[in-house]
Amino acid sequence: MSRIHVTTTVNGDAVDYLCEADDTLLDVLRDQLDLTGSKEGCASGDCGACTVELDGRLVCSCLVLGAEAEGRTVETIEGMANGDVLHPLQKNFIEKAALQCGVCTPGILVAAKNLLDHTPDPSEEEVRYWLAGNLCRCTGYDKIIRAVLDTAAEMRGAA
């Protein structure tokens, strides 16, 4: 079976890879590009642990084929910090104890960043509904929601 050659942009870098037609973008990120920050929690779009941005829009990378990424841009958790400078969400997730086991954290951070990129002043309810597709089993979400709201306020203050 011949594999598909895909040229795309991941976290700002031009990359290319060969994938099977049935490889998901998540398979490619994890197994070929060694970007294991995106996690497979369900492979059905129900947990959000594999959340990435595809052309700026949030998707579950388990529900995108690797071949579909041709010519597009992908942003993963590994591209969120600017060098050694953490995104304010990353910093606040550490400082405000918004993670326990941390396995859902990459997906939640990518999703929360996307929200704040276009909704700088979300309500608690907006944050909760926006993140409803990101399951967390440890925290009860409380500290996650607070960290997102606090970060939004902080970023508005800094802007």
Partner: protein
């Protein structure tokens, strides 16, 4: 499995016609789940999103044409579409999570032919049509006639949906969609209900349609004439609720019981009718 990216409708039809085992990929939020779970093993996946027009929302004859590759999130971001068909858009926007919204499409939801598809009842209540491309050219089919049974559609070999068309909404009309789920998000509808109303200038309902999801093998059209000639008063919505409960023919399964689904069909009918009425009235002022 092969991955195909046709750049025209004709190319897509040619691929699908040549390979009956091929599957159309729009948003992929159902297809990829079934693929990974091993429930299907198609010979090819045909990504239609690179065909011109598939990702467009455009106005046509006062109505709206929505390409088969338009994500539900894009629908929710379209002010004109949302104003004309708030119920259709809210149904579409209820599918899955934020992440799923970025990919899932109404055409895909329709072709998946799940009895509980959230975008389908409001399309049916709006008398929407699907444009179907195939070996014999294109044809327009009522959305209601696309699904035939769970997982089954009326599409013939080599055919696929290229767009959904929502007709020009009459003056003083609007719609609403409600579903019942056990959680607040992420569930499949246990019952879904869409109501589409047109009023006269005085606020009396002149025409009404209602459709129900998840209470039969496919979406159900239910007689909503109980509302016609009324101002959507309590007696009228109670009559509508009774019609909904009577029309529902659900099954017992992991998501709900027959009795529950019949009861909730009525409850949602009432609630959706009231919302649609307020919207239609608001639209008329």
């Amino acid at each position: 499995m092969k991955f195909e990216t046709p750049h025209s409708v004709d190319d897509a039809v040619a691929i699908l016609r040549a390979d009956p085992e091929a599957r159309v990929l729009a948003g992929g939020t159902d297809l990829l789940v079934r693929l990974r779970a091993g429930h299907i093993s198609p010979s090819a996946v045909v990504d239609i999103k690179r065909i011109p027009g598939m990702r467009d929302i455009s106005q046509e004859d006062g109505g709206w044409r929505i390409g088969a590759g338009v994500s539900c999130a894009e629908m929710g971001e379209h002010a004109g579409l949302k104003a004309a068909y708030p119920g259709v858009v809210e149904g579409a926007e209820l599918i899955g999570s934020t992440q799923v919204q970025g990919r899932c499409t109404m055409a895909g939801n329709l072709c998946n032919a799940g009895p509980a598809g959230d975008s389908v009842p409001a399309m049916v209540a709006a008398q929407a049509t699907a444009r179907v491309a195939g070996p014999n050219g294109t044809r327009d089919v009522a959305v209601f006639d696309i699904p035939t049974a769970p997982g089954q559609t009326s599409l013939a070999e080599g055919e696929f949906i290229t767009s959904i068309f929502l007709p020009a909404p009459p003056a003083h009309s609007s719609d609403a969609y409600l579903r019942f789920i056990p959680r607040t998000e992420m569930d499949i509808a246990v019952v879904g209900c869409a109501v589409n109303l047109t009023l006269d200038a005085a606020g009396t309902v002149t025409s009404a349609s209602m459709s129900l999801g998840a209470v039969g093998p496919k979406v159900k059209q239910v007689d909503a004439s109980a509302l016609v000639g009324t101002i959507c008063d309590d007696a009228a919505v109670e009559a509508l609720a009774a019609a909904a409960t009577a029309a529902a023919t659900p099954i017992d399964d992991k998501r709900g019981t027959i009795a529950f689904r019949k009861d909730v069909s009525g409850v949602l009918a009432k609630r959706a009718a009231r919302i649609a009425y307020i919207r239609a009235k608001g639209a008329s002022s």
